[in-house]
């Protein structure tokens, strides 16, 4: 960055790259719509989980806070949207907003508790929190439907015209639009000075503190943003399937989303999407044959990623094509 001309060109190429990236997501989404018209429910679920993985990336990839309890935020959004819908708020956009707010509130609580601890204690707290949320959702069956799940709500048509049909077309396109919107927003967030500060904290919290910044409020803010994204994902899942199960607040979902993130590449928003699509696509195909083959395969993949490609698939692509500008500012942190 020697002169303003260079930095201007750099910003231009970054902007161009992000426009191309978003266009690629839109094209891939549209391709999914045309290629798999019978599997739109699954694809909508992929989008919902992709939002969860994106939100996890904000915390793990950009802030370096290891968590195995992120599904608590996703579940908070899902249950909030479901309960609001049962009580008469059926407008889809409002429901997504309610889910995001609930997720943000859950993120605030979770962040406040988790960020006091470090290392192992932090990890254990995140697990304990998601398990506690799971038990609470199970116990409060009057509100959440307990182990039967929350069902019997139906959102009203989108913009008053597009009904949530049986094939899931509306839900899918709505989800895709939501994903693209959130993705663009997050691109701004991670490129902002605030996002840079988060990455700095990940690299060296002591140094950031010495520079005069407060670490805890910054991380908490990122946790709240992350909670809003995860909550929106949960609300999307609730809208599209019209049922909210206990599995949406589970350790398994949390662990799986972490696996997806690492598979795709930590610290890169594209990596989060790629990891989710690959993981869930393979899961759909292989676990239909034998769920235990699926577990063996995921396990072997995880070990391979840790040993061979710590940057995930994104990092691997960056290493194979080092001339590609793809790794400019998205260089995946080594896990």
């Amino acid at each position: 960055m020697r002169g303003s001309a260079t930095s201007g060109r750099f910003a231009d190429s970054r902007l161009l790259r992000d426009v191309v990236g978003v266009a690629a997501i839109a094209v891939a989404g549209a391709a999914g719509y045309w290629l798999f018209p019978d599997n739109l429910a699954l694809l909508t679920r992929v989008i919902a989980v992709a939002l969860l993985v994106l939100s996890l990336d904000l915390v793990v990839g950009y802030c370096g806070v290891a968590t195995l309890g992120h599904a608590a935020l996703y579940g908070a959004g899902a249950y909030a949207a479901g309960m609001a819908c049962l009580r008469g708020v059926t407008e889809p956009m409002t429901l997504i907003l309610i889910g995001a707010v609930a997720g943000a509130a859950a993120g605030l609580v979770m962040g406040t508790i988790m960020l006091r601890a470090h290392g192992l204690a932090q990890l254990v707290l995140s697990i304990a929190l998601v398990q506690l949320a799971h038990e609470a959702a199970n116990k409060a069956s009057a509100y959440t439907g307990g182990s039967d799940g929350l069902a019997g709500f139906s959102p009203s048509p989108l913009f008053g015209t597009f009904v949530f049909d049986l094939w899931g077309r509306t839900a899918y396109l709505f989800g895709l639009a939501l994903l693209i919107g959130v993705f663009i927003l997050l691109k701004f967030v991670v490129a902002s000075p605030f996002g840079m500060l988060c990455r700095g904290i990940k690299e060296d919290p002591v140094r950031i503190r010495a520079m005069g910044a407060f670490v805890f409020p910054v991380l908490l803010k990122m946790f709240v943003i992350s909670g809003a994204v995860a909550g929106a994902g949960g609300a999307l899942a609730a809208l599209s399937t019209q049922v909210v199960g206990l599995d949406s607040v589970s350790f398994e979902l949390s662990a799986n989303s972490l696996v997806m993130l690492v598979l795709g590449g930590l610290g890169s928003l594209y990596g989060a999407l790629v990891g989710t699509v690959i993981f869930m696509g393979f899961e759909h195909v292989v676990s239909a044959i034998n769920p235990f083959h699926w577990m063996t395969m995921v396990g072997a993949l995880l070990i391979a990623v840790v040993l061979v490609a710590p940057g995930g698939i994104g990092g691997l692509a960056g290493r194979l094509f080092p001339t590609m500008p793809a790794k400019g500012d998205d260089r995946g942190g080594r896990s």
Partner: protein, 306 residues
């Protein structure tokens, strides 16, 4: 009047007897469950405290042991004791190459890397064991001498409960002796405190790590088989109890034997009491207690400052 008072008193006495009986059986179950947890978790506490590896695959090794023991008893027709021995040996044999090729690469890595690698190992173990042994609940039949109640003079207690408690105490004492009183224990502690210096002084740290890992896996195997009455061996055992084991160890303080014992007894009591008195809450109290303890003692109840 007098008859009525007598009857009231009899009812009161009977009530108290029922109450005492409930308290007693909860206490016995809680202690036995805590001890079973302890035998499994102490191995994990060693790997986490001494070798600094967050080994989420610990339950997977206990599961391998349970499968071996069940196979030995049901297919080969061996006795309980032989099955336990076979399962411990088998698990250690399985664990040696895993330590050599996988764990050795993640000593000293960040927690996230260790978590991912060990979750991967867990998934692989679940997939492979169920491919070979079939996805069913594996029972490990108790011998007659353990399944009968033992009369303690004032109460009869299931023999198996007493056996588990005795095993737990023996393990705790044996480990304490091994770490505090033997030459190997000195090398182990030296390696933990400063691996580079220990290496320079002629301690073969790689061997120390390998042996400690094997001991930890042997304990996991022993605990898995002995505690199968409390934590039944089933296809997703390694995943289902992964969190429980990790939580118990971090509550106790990684690397501390008395800490692990204390954590197992406290959490075992909370869990068992909750299940007896308020079964509809499930694990709610267990995790609420965990959050409270970890918030107050971030290094665990008796963990050392690092």
């Amino acid at each position: 009047m007098r008859g009525r008072a007598c009857k009231d008193r009899r009812i009161a006495v009977a009530d108290r007897n029922v109450f005492m009986q409930t308290v007693f059986s909860i206490a016995i179950d809680a202690v036995a469950y805590g001890m079973a947890l302890f035998i499994i978790c102490i191995g994990l506490s060693l790997t986490m405290g001494l070798m600094r590896v967050v080994n989420l695959a610990h339950g997977a090794f206990a599961m391998i042991a349970g499968y071996i023991a069940s196979f030995a008893q049901r297919e080969l027709g061996t006795g309980y004791a032989v099955a336990i021995l076979l399962s411990i040996l088998g698990t250690i044999v399985v664990s040696i190459p895993i330590e050599r090729f996988l764990y050795r690469r993640i000593y000293g890595s960040p927690e996230l890397t260790q978590v991912l690698m060990t979750i991967g190992i867990t998934f692989c173990v679940i997939g492979i064991t169920n491919y070979f042994f079939g996805p069913t609940l594996k029972t490990i039949p108790l011998p007659e001498s353990l399944s009968e109640p033992v009369d303690l003079g004032f109460r009869a207690v299931a023999g198996h409960r007493l056996f588990v408690m005795a095993c737990g105490l023996v393990v705790a004492a044996g480990l304490w002796f091994l770490i505090e009183k033997t030459a190997f224990g000195i090398r182990l502690r030296a390696t933990v405190d400063n691996a580079g210096m220990a290496d320079a002084l002629g301690v073969r740290t790689q061997v120390v790590y390998a042996v400690s890992f094997a001991i930890a896996m042997g304990l996991a195997a022993f605990g898995g088989v002995v505690g199968a009455e409390f934590l039944p061996i089933e296809p997703y055992y390694a995943l289902r109890y992964m969190v429980t084991f990790l939580v118990v160890v971090s509550v106790g303080g990684a690397g501390s034997i008395p800490g692990a014992l204390l954590a197992c007894l406290v959490l075992g009591t909370i869990d068992t009491t909750g299940r007896y008195l308020m079964p509809e809450f499930g694990n709610f109290f267990f995790y609420a207690a965990v959050i409270a303890i970890v918030c107050i003692f971030p290094r665990g109840l008796l963990g050392r400052a690092q």
